[in-house]
Amino acid sequence: MSVVDSPATRRPNDPGRSQQNRTPGHAAPKRRPRGSGRTPWLLALPALLLIAGLLGYPLVRMVVLSFQNMRLRELLSGRTPPWVGFDQYTRVLSDNVFWAVVGRTVAFTFVSVLISVLVGLGIALLMRRVSRGVRLFMVVAMMFVWALPQLVAAQIFRWMTDSDFGVVNYLIDLLPGVDYQNHSWFVNPWQGWSVITTLVVWAGIPFLAITLNAGLTQVPKELLEAATVDGATPWQALRNIILPILKPLIMIVTTLSVIWNFGLFTQAWVLRDGHPEPQFQTLATYSYTQAFGQSRYSLGSAIAVITVLLMLGVMIFYIRQMFRIGEVD
């Protein structure tokens, strides 16, 4: 959510200067008090201890586990499982099913994030264009969607796409010449994934649209007026003025969406009633099924480690960027 430290935070302080969106307004990174001794560590200590204790330690256990072979018997008896070196990793990496899952997860992430961000941006732009009453209505509608817990949202979609009682089939069936009675949405993986994607996009729009809308309020009006005077079309204004200013914000919400959608679990799990078929497995559900469904705890750990590494690979750009931001201020 470092949304905030991108231009959004800085520009207001000197809207005039930062139109180029170059380095932040106050370019004096060294002004931070130096040599304050123990104070910063004391401040960070509680957070570090908690992270080390409740994330770090289990994480180390997980990594260790991925080099062993722990099955139910070892789990229950508490005996140290046999060490197997990189066996779990070679097993995962040489498994076609795993790569299919990776490919599917990546494809889903790409498509769902692309749609979410585009629609979110479109809605945000629309919100700047409509009258106040309509905007209020849009915000209220999105708040309701936002307030629905993930599990609940997934249940609703399961209910609406139910083949016997679902309202979606009923409505489509009303169209002349279309027979959608008892249509099952999860026979064809493309259809099934469209349901899942619709759910994810629908649930993701409020965050994106409202955030981007807030970002749009930062676009200096004078600039747009000047552009209009110079004869710029709305499209040109969008491309040459609005998007460049929003770019850092878009990048950050996109990255967050990538992290969230890459970890898709609840939606696929609920829509497939707790037993996703192979064509509906994502990395998160696959790792969970392997570890807990099949009691291959070590294999599940290896998959989790690989997942983190994959994420790191994808996110390295983001992390570098964030790191730079974190460094500068």
Binding site: W41, L50, R129, R132, A214
Partner: protein, 307 residues
Amino acid sequence: MVAPAASPAAPAPASTVPLKRRRAKADDGVITVGRSRAGTILANAAGVVFSVLMLFPVYWVLNTAFKPADEVLALEPTFWPTSPTLDNFISAFKAPLFLKDMLNGVIVTLLAVAGALVVGFLGALSIARFSFYGRKAIILVVLVVQLIPFLSLLIPLFLMLQSADLTNSLIGVSITYLVLILPYTVWTLRGFISGIPRELDEAALIDGCTRAQVFWRIILPLTGPGLVATSVYGFIQAWNEFIIINTLNSPDKQNLMAWLLQNQTTRGTAWGPLMAGAIITSIPVVIFFLIIQRNIATGLTAGAVKG
């Protein structure tokens, strides 16, 4: 200005200044490029259609929740309950553990969010306002741990909490959730704190304020809206979680999400009560959003110094 106020996770403080400026000019903040009457009508129509589409699933939950059982399961769904009833809501409230689990959820969520804000704020202060050896490492840790799939840590986590006698307790779950949302909280608050011009700190120090006074009088009030905005993410995460709490705790110490799963038994799904339960489950979040909206508004006034 409803929109920015309603954007909890969004750059709330950032948007404050220009907003005020616009309001002063009595402008509604609409982008004027290519503006025409017909265009506005078209845009309004699009906005309404969008909102209706977004709301359809929400409407369908309400519609289902107010239907009696025999109307819920109908091959030809009706778009309005012909004989509306509160039975499903009564059923949920009367159901064993519903109120208890709701209370548990509220307690756990509030503890986790409050804890994460306090701990996270201190951590954020450290990396945003100090320069010290190891700062980079802390930032890296905070960024990278956000990528860890938490479910894969379930068993080590369980064993660890159990040895500390923290399974089957609300405290154990609260701490777990706290850590779950902590990295994000630190990172976001760091952004908010960096957004406060350092000149303010320095001016105050020159005026004779102590470090502590700078913190209490300047940084904390100015980060207020940021704290609220950050808490939204934490609140939603903690309120929505069900696998960890279901694994760590027995049913009387779980939350509403875990309770909702109960409606999916081998004896068929009771959709009516499930949807009623879903509505009740969402209400605290809606309330929270409403409260936030007010708080952000107060935060805006506090942020005035900034301009």
